[in-house]
Amino acid sequence: MYNDKVLDIFANPKNVGEIKDADGVGTVGNASCGDIMQVYLKIDREKGIITDAKFKTFGCAAAIASSSVATEMVKGKTIEEALKIRNADVVETLEGLPPQKIHCSVLAEEAIAEAIKDYQKKVSGK
């Protein structure tokens, strides 16, 4: 079902963990559906650049691989650039996902967006 790239990233995911003093945290999904994705972002407020990203994920191999890819993608990007990342980009980096797993890449897109929203809320003083 999974291609070798997905299996490989699942076996060696990057950016696993939390950022204690994260500037933005986004959590999507829920346990009863079998997927929770939590993304932590460290953002340079001056430049609006994402300097670090980590994740914690409860979910399948595709969810974990998508989390790894998405957090890897956003690093070094501006917020605007990061918001332009689509799930299709995640799928492309993974060299494809089985149809029923596409939703995992969507979760990754959403988790990033949620984390940025969280950051923006904080910045705008809430």
Partner: protein, 393 residues
């Protein structure tokens, strides 16, 4: 190390079985329906296989019908019995934990206007025969209850259910696919009218199964065509696979007691160690009335498919009741039917032992499982590694 703990999904063909089949591919290849010697030699092998299978099940040879596998057998049994019934309204009874080959067929029959009652199971996964008795109606045509469950190995009180069905004059079918390797079955003693088997679940080849049909029971055909199988199931008779299935069943009946002792010992050792050594681990299903080869456990705060895939990285093959493994949205209906909460159903793993599984393999699996659980809890937003505790928010 390669460890295959997915014997409920399929088994390796036994060497003896392969040897039994081999002459029928390139040498005794005639069509058993042909009148000439090439055909008669093949037919003889088929007749012997049929007789052997029948005697192991306590049936008559003429009651054994060969199919392409238990999925077809289940389809034929249910659709055939329901469609052959002359009742104006039709009702059938099954359980909430049947295999998709029964479930999906029931849903199809519902579309055709049949009413289906799905009997619940207790938290050990067992159907109460009294619930079945209570569900019987005027228009009940058929009861279909599996002999043992494929996901968590619960063995059902088939003989009691058969008795109830017989007393009420209702047809009784059982899907014995997972049971046959370890449970001796006698269709007469158990009042079974129809029974489904698939050879590849007991070290026979894939693509061949049987439907036992008690003589006198009339089913509509599922597959029309030539006159094979006493005109009830068309299609060229599959000599090599039939011979292979008979050999596999013979071996399984012959070695059943020894294999059961071996597997249930390993099973109990496995369950005990994991429950002791892995926090937040839970056994799905009861410990009694459980197939000797089945271990099904949930591991809190991590998802089943990722456990499966991590074990796979270490050469261990298991299956999972997570939605993520099946491509559906819901986790296993069987694990949910036990009353397990959805989060934990998503975390369930089936380890299905084989007769050749070794203690060494089990030890390796337990150690690897512990690492796996730690690794995934380390990634889980629901688990606090420092404290070693988790919670579902």
């Amino acid at each position: 190390m390669k460890v295959y703990l997915d014997n409920s999904a399929t088994t390796a063909v036994d060497k003896e079985v392969l040897d039994a089949m081999l002459p029928y591919f390139c040498e005794i290849y005639g069509n058993p329906s042909s009148l000439h010697a090439f055909g008669r030699n093949a037919q003889k092998a088929v007749d012997e296989a049929r007789a052997k299978i029948a005697s192991i099940l306590g049936a008559k040879a003429s009651e054994i019908y060969f199919t392409s596998g238990a999925t077809e057998s289940n389809n034929w049994a249910l659709k055939g019995a329901i469609r052959a019934s002359k009742n104006a309204k039709k009702h059938m009874i099954t359980s909430a934990i049947e295999h998709p080959a029964i479930m999906d067929t029931c849903h199809e029959l519902e579309k055709e206007g049949v009413e289906v009652t799905y009997i619940k199971v207790n938290h050990e996964g067992i159907v109460n025969p009294e619930d079945i008795r209570a569900a019987i109606r005027e228009d009940t045509v058929l009861i279909s209850i599996m002999t043992a469950n494929n996901e968590m190995g619960a063995i059902q009180p088939i003989a009691e259910i058969g008795k109830i069905a017989r007393d009420e004059g209702i047809l009784f079918h059982t899907d014995a696919v997972q049971a046959i390797e370890s449970q001796p079955i006698n269709v007469d003693n158990m009042n079974i009218d129809m029974l489904s088997l698939s050879a590849h679940k007991f070290h026979g080849p894939k693509g061949i199964g049987i439907l036992y049909i008690r003589s006198g029971v009339r089913l509509d055909k599922l597959i029309h065509g030539g006159h094979q199988e006493r005109r009830q199931r068309a299609g060229t008779t599959n000599t090599p696979l039939i011979v292979g299935m008979a050999k596999a069943l013979e071996i399984c009946a012959r070695d059943r007691d020894r294999n059961n002792r071996h597997m249930s010992e390993l099973r109990d050792y496995f369950i005990d160690r994991v429950l002791n050594e892995v926090p937040y681990s839970y056994l799905n299903g009861g410990r009694e009335k459980r197939l000797p080869n089945n271990v099904n456990m949930s591991f809190g705060f991590i998802e089943g498919e990722s456990i499966l895939m991590t074990l796979d990285l270490k050469g261990i093959a298991v299956s999972s009741g997570s939605a993520c493994s099946s491509g559906s949205l819901e986790p296993s209906h069987v694990i949910l039917a036990l009353g397990v909460r959805e989060e934990l159903a998503h975390s369930s793993i089936r380890f299905s032992l084989g007769r050749d599984t070794t203690k060494e393999e089990i030890d390796y699996t337990i150690e690897t499982l512990k690492e796996t659980v730690d690794r995934l809890r380390g990634m889980s937003p629901l688990f606090n590694v420092e404290k070693g505790t988790g919670s579902y928010v």
